[in-house]
């Protein structure tokens, strides 16, 4: 039996244990709550459970999935503002290797499967790097929000104090420049 089929057969315990890897990074007193199924009352637990299962499903599809970054984004957007060091925030990805090793044990060492497993491990490593990028983007967004808040605040105060000169409000931009400005604004949003 090839690796994908082995993983498919063990999907339920693997997903459950991988989820636990993530939940165990939270304070012990809060872990039971995070297991509660309530999309709106427990968005952290819901996002993790949904994301972990979906990522595993996508991995088994085999083809390069464009949904994987989306689910990681959902999870890491949470962890980027919670009490984690960067390594702790993304470390759960590698936990999947340990979970699979425990579940499949010696089956991974059989001829044929061991090569597939090596390739699969590389995929997990790749996801780790992807997570590093996503986590960094989330942190940069936080910094960006801070900078913008400070800039808006101080600029307005300078203007009000009459210290800063501002271009007249009716300063005319060409249509092309206006569109460009709008496009830039949308990008930075």
């Amino acid at each position: 039996m090839d690796l994908k089929n082995l993983l498919l057969r063990k999907k339920s315990p693997i997903v459950k244990k991988w989820c636990e890897v993530v939940l165990r990074t939270y304070p012990e007193g809060g872990q039971a709550f995070l297991k509660k199924k309530d999309r709106f009352g427990n968005p952290v637990g819901h996002t993790i459970a949904e994301g972990i299962e979906s990522i595993f499903d996508e991995l088994l599809q085999g083809t390069k999935s464009d949904k994987i970054p989306l689910f990681f984004d959902n999870i890491l957007r949470l962890r980027a503002v919670q009490d984690f060091s960067p390594s702790k925030a993304v470390g759960f990805v590698f936990g999947l290797k340990k979970v699979i090793r425990k579940e499949l044990g010696s089956k991974l060492l059989k001829d044929g499967t061991s090569e597939e497993w090596a390739a699969f491990e590389s995929e997990i490593d790749g996801m780790g790097l992807l997570c590093f990028d996503i986590y960094t983007q989330c942190r940069e967004k936080i910094f960006d929000i801070r900078i913008k808040a400070l800039r808006n605040q101080s600029h307005r105060l300078l203007k009000m104090a009459g210290v800063a000169y501002d271009l007249p409000e009716d300063y005319e931009l060409s249509e092309e420049d206006r569109d460009l400005k709008k496009a830039h604004a949308n990008k930075s949003h």
Binding site: T25, G29, G30, P43, S87, K88, Q153, R156, M160
Partner: protein, 555 residues
């Protein structure tokens, strides 16, 4: 022998073997919450109040300090001050005494706080946050606690406990969501209010509260805006409104003899997107002038918000007093209040009993709408009407000419701001108004709105720049519900009736739900209003094209 830490590891604050140990579970609470010392983290707390702010209002112990310092520079007898004040408040506030005694730890509140939901930090469960205080209460004021100590859930007030108090007092936004679910009606906000009062007595506070309090005391508003600047900002809005509508509105200021005084949070005057809501009020008042509205703005009572609520009952009373004082000075009959959150908690729950004596000898009386004749009996005691009630009444009596299609570029949802929803039950009026000025309205899931609404994450003075991560966690449950309607219905506008919401939500949306903007209800009202003498409108107050006009430009 343990391997010495490398510099790089130290910088990251973590050891290599910890990085690889993916099964790592934080040790927090393995020893029980009482033995788990507080870990004060940057971005999870606000900067300390600067001494000048405290001196202005005679608050104790003004000095430079930081929560990250070991020494918080407390008075030597700090413990005595706090415990004496604790006792005074147990005698003074029956609610506080009850809330210290009656919790049965049923857990109904535990998972209702957005700060717990977003962080999973058990000390953010309302029940445990309250236990931080109850444990000290038991040790000092109950026989069982005195005799049995930790077995009875009692502990001394040590410097570490005090630090823990301060840290978690400023992770509660006093939103009162937990109280909705408590079978005894224990109000965590009241415990936080008293807790903040106690810590303020020894100079423990935050600057994002201390500064607005000081400014409000000196100039009448949180930002320290003086009358001429306040007026010039509204003049700027007059120009903006004229550009968009072709109509010149003319507000009046500090006008004696006016029938109604209008008071709104200063955030509406000085911060987007509240500024467009402020323009909305101005347009509405202009429209109603010909129907008999006689209203004035005040550059003295230039703030509806009251950050005194977040320091002490006395300071709340001091800052609130300007409302009735100004109403009396101008000789108005009643007060109309703008879209604000905690302002309405103070007005609805405290003002009438707290400061009504200041209104003695004034012209204040039970508010009656000069346009519809409706008596606002619910405000008989305070003489202050919420603008959503006022506008809903106008719409009900068909007094406004509205074209909701002018808001067709919007798919709107409504966030019940904590205080109007839970402190005054204002649930239907804003919805009634929105449905009459917009064609596309979508509710968020029932467990996230009305009485059960989630906090924006920045209430009670937590909207500082430095604690943004705290706010992103606290605001997560709200943002999660917005994301749901954004994805399901294409909602692109989050409306609310609170100035703090309008300040907090844009960043919250930028992080969690890009593509959703934020508005006050009266911005949408004004955009839908058909004004006498208006020019052909092509843009809204934000200078964005109205739905349908973009195509016609292309033709």
């Amino acid at each position: 022998m343990e391997e010495p830490l490398k510099q790089a590891d130290v910088m990251k604050g973590t050891r290599k073997e910890e990085v690889l140990d993916i099964d790592h579970s934080p040790s927090l609470f393995k020893r029980g919450w009482m033995k788990t010392p507080v870990d004060i983290r940057p971005s999870m707390h606000c900067f300390a109040g600067e001494p000048a702010r405290l001196k202005v209002v005679d608050f104790p112990n003004p000095r430079v300090w930081s929560a990250m310092d070991e020494d918080w520079k407390l008075p030597t007898n700090w413990k005595e001050i706090v415990m004496d004040a604790f006792k005074v408040r147990l005698d003074r506030f029956r609610t506080f005494k009850l809330f210290m005694d009656i919790c049965v730890r049923c857990g109904a509140c535990a998972d209702k706080c957005q700060f717990f939901i977003g962080s999973a930090d058990p000390k953010n469960m309302p029940v445990l946050r309250a236990e931080l205080f109850r444990s000290v209460y038991r040790k000092n004021f109950t026989t069982a606690g005195k005799l049995l100590g930790p077995i009875a859930g009692a502990r001394d007030l040590t410097i570490d406990v005090l630090k823990e108090w301060w840290y978690y007092l400023y992770q509660c936004s006093e939103c009162r969501r937990c109280s909705v679910f408590c079978p005894y009606g224990i109000d965590m906000a009241e415990i936080t209010i008293i807790g903040r009062e106690l810590t303020n007595l020894i100079g423990l506070n935050i600057d994002w509260i201390a500064a607005p309090v000081a400014f409000c005391y000196k100039t009448g508003n949180h930002l320290g805006i003086q009358p001429h600047a306040y007026k010039s900002m509204l003049e700027f809005f007059q120009d903006e409104i004229e550009i968009v509508t072709g109509v010149r509105v003319e507000p009046s200021y500090n006008r004696k003899g006016a029938e109604i005084l209008f008071i709104t949070p200063s955030g509406d005057v000085f911060a987007d997107p509240g500024t467009w809501t402020c323009m909305g009020y101005m347009i509405l008042f202009h429209y109603l002038e010909s129907l008999g509205l006689d209203i004035t703005w005040s550059t003295y009572a230039s703030e509806g918000g009251n950050f005194g609520l977040f320091t002490s009952h006395e300071m709340m009373k001091r800052l609130n007093s300007k409302m009735y004082a100004e109403a009396k000075r101008l000789g108005v009959k009643w007060i109309l209040g703008g879209e604000c959150g905690h302002m309405w908690r103070v007005v609805n729950q405290y003002m009438g009993t707290m400061n009504l004596d200041l209104a003695e000898g004034s012209n204040l009386e039970e508010p009656v709408s000069p346009i519809t004749g409706t008596k606002f009996e619910n405000t008989k005691s305070t003489k202050m009407v919420h603008i959503c009630e006022f506008t809903a009444d106008l719409i009900k009596h068909n007094k406004l000419k509205l074209d909701p299609s002018r808001n067709d570029n919007l798919k709107v949802t409504f966030h019940d701001s904590c205080n109007p929803a839970r402190a005054m039950g204002l649930l239907e009026e804003p919805r009634y108004v929105i449905k009459n000025v917009c064609n596309n309205f979508y509710e968020m899931p029932p467990t996230t709105i009305r009485e059960q609404t989630f906090c924006c994450g920045g209430g009670s003075g937590l909207n500082a720049g430095e604690d943004v991560e705290l706010r992103m966690r606290g605001g997560l449950p709200r943002a999660n519900a917005v994301k749901f309607v954004h994805e399901k219905y294409g909602v692109n506008m989050l409306s609310c009736i609170c100035a703090i919401d309008r300040a907090v939500f844009p960043d919250l949306m930028r992080y969690w739900v890009p593509g959703v903007e934020v508005t006050g209800v009266h911005e949408m009202v004004a955009n839908a209003m058909v004004l006498e003498g208006e020019k052909e409108k092509t843009v809204n107050l934000r200078n964005e094209p109205l739905a349908g006009t973009e195509e016609s430009e292309d033709v």
